[in-house]
Symmetry: C2
Subunit: 201 residues, 2 copies
């Protein structure tokens, strides 16, 4: 019984290591088996198919993260402190598992279906855009409109992310056909968050 559990965990951890090394797109069941030092057929004794395996890899990682965050946040009182702890614990988790998250994040960011060369040009284009925004933020810092201690490059990156995240949020909530009013409202919402944040005063 523990033996079975061990092999299950062995396949999970081998997959995880492989993902860290070669990414999702290059992951094959043959490689998983080889990495775990077992036959391919054995993998199918513990996981229904490749999709099932990947799903289990992701969910086990998520559960671990969620548990540690809830534990940490449970010790805090007040929303501000809870959030502060949450951010801190989340970031810590990410960096403690940075090889895994690097792949998760960069695979997403780089648009996984592209090959190396195209990923590079994709990233270069995005950089041109964030550099452009960073220039605007820098000028705002110099003119005194914006705080003078900002990392303007990173702030630009954040803004692009907020814009994108806002749209994803809408799509996921069935808000697909926006009126121009809703577009204006969204613009104000993001602008407000980026300029003033969510805190009172």
């Amino acid at each position: 019984m523990t033996e079975i559990q061990d092999k299950y965990e062995l396949i999970l951890s081998s997959s995880r290591k492989l993902i860290e090394e070669i990414g999702f797109s290059a992951l094959t069941m043959d490689k998983v088996a080889q990495k775990a030092g077992i036959a391919k057929g054995t993998v199918y004794l513990y996981f229904k198919d490749k999709d099932d395996l990947l799903e289990k890899v992701l969910s086990s990682g998520f559960e671990k993260m969620f548990e540690r965050i809830k534990t940490r946040v449970g010790n805090e009182s007040g929303a501000f402190n809870k959030l502060k702890s949450l951010i801190n614990e989340n970031i810590k988790h990410i960096y403690e598992n940075r090889y895994f998250f690097k792949t998760i994040f960069l695979d997403e960011v780089n648009v996984v279906f592209l090959k190396k060369k195209s990923k590079e040009s994709y990233n270069l284009r995005r950089k041109r855009y964030t550099d452009y925004i960073a220039g605007i933020i820098k000028s705002g810092m110099e003119s005194g409109e914006f705080k003078n201690d900002l990392n303007y490059s990173k702030s630009a990156y954040m803004l692009v992310s907020l814009i994108k995240t806002g749209a994803i949020y809408n799509f996921l909530n069935g808000m697909f056909d926006l009126t121009s009013d809703m577009i204006e409202k969204d613009t104000e919402e993001i602008l407000n968050l980026f300029m003033r944040g969510i805190s009172v005063k």
Copy 2:
């Protein structure tokens, strides 16, 4: 010559439509040819390979977006107004091309390599997490710590996005092994942006 350009554009737009309809992962060269009403070999006369085609689809879309944003922003003066216009124009572009962006965004968010069932559970897990954070923000609104007009669900989504984006930013800039000091600094930076934004006062 215009004929060649027409066919080139035909393949591009057909690919784009296909991506909107079936997503990146299901796109095949056979389907592209069929959609364009030409033979597969013809596609290879205008694009080196599949990767080249996808790259051109993405870059042409990006160039259009970038151009319109630069034009719009160029009419504004002052960083605040420029940024406001930029956000607005970017969002407009996204929604005018919403079928395309829906696929781009959701493919990224849903982790493209998973099949439908696993994508659903992946999304459910993320929702559990954002709901959890939303609850904290809601309590902060009720206690008067946070602004009372927030969409706490969306704000939670934004926070998760900021955390993730911060990490991606670091990775892309070679900051892979963070000291605990840097982790604290990152925590403060994100917390500050989310609570107070980048604006002075």
